[in-house]
Amino acid sequence: MSSPREAVANGAAGAAVLAASLGCFALGVLAVAGDGWKAVAGLLTFYRPTGPLSGVSTVAILVWLATWFTGNRLWRGKTVALGKVSVAAFVLLALGLLLTFPPFEDLLLGK
């Protein structure tokens, strides 16, 4: 994933951007799963007073941090095609945002 016109190592930035978007996408997927299936909602209830939101947010944060850590180790000091990375990140972010929007969520779940 290298681009000849970029001289400065931008891999760490690419990893950070992609990981944050992946975290947002995971949040959207987990929000839908938690709302759609009671068993999943039960599994995601890490703290009873907060309900499934506690698990949805915690798992999404773990996905974000784990992919950031891994991506940073893989891409640090390297040059990546930032255009492709940012397009992929924006798509993931847009999907994450869409999945958290209740009317779209209801449409997906057939409610």
Partner: protein, 189 residues
């Protein structure tokens, strides 16, 4: 003039943490715009960079304080289950909203969206702050990187704005209240 403990905590969550976080997000958008428009003409000096770093770290802390206090302190009060036999729903905002079809949407759309989308703002702004601190010089490549994260900063600002706006409206329709009563001043003084 009195407030309950839960009202004070809700105000700290929304107006202090959330409100200042959103203002800081807007500040980041301005900073990014300025650094992109400068075209290498106005290099920020080291003490200026240090101040920017402190500002960015404070912004990130405010964002996380807002979502954590919301999810783990205020939200449990909002969604508390109504004990059997209780008919006055004033202390149970979610149930109060859902009891009337004219207000149910504030929960089914407003809170259901807000409770999830809000988390995206600190996640994204943590990334934005990190990139801004790591790639902070005036070189073309660093400017390109800051331009890229500008879009994510805008998305975070909008996500935080949705959460804040719905939070304010929901708390107006069915306020989180209860707990110890704290007197702020006597006899209207």
């Amino acid at each position: 003039m009195q407030m309950t403990w839960r009202e004070i905590v809700t105000a700290v969550h929304g107006m202090l943490f959330g409100g200042f976080f959103l203002m800081a997000c807007f500040g980041v958008l301005v900073l990014l715009h300025r650094s992109l428009a400068a075209h290498g003409g106005s290099e920020v000096k080291e003490h200026g960079r240090r101040r920017e770093r402190i500002f960015l770290i404070l912004m990130v802390l405010l964002g996380w304080a807002a979502v954590l206090s919301g999810a783990y302190v205020v939200y449990p009060w909002y969604r508390a289950a109504v004990p059997p036999g209780v008919t006055n729903l004033e202390m149970y905002p979610q149930r109060l909203l859902m009891s009337d079809p004219h207000t149910a949407g504030w929960h089914t759309l407003g809170m259901e969206w807000k409770e999830h989308v809000a988390w995206m703002a600190p996640m994204l702004m943590t990334m934005v702050a990190w990139v801004m601190m790591k790639y902070e010089d005036g070189s073309e490549e660093h400017r390109r990187l800051r331009a890229m994260v500008g879009g994510f900063a805008l998305a975070a600002f909008l996500a935080g704005g949705v959460a804040a706006e719905f939070g304010a409206w929901i708390n107006k329709k069915a306020p989180v209240t209860g707990g110890r009563v704290i007197t702020l001043s006597q006899d209207g003084k």
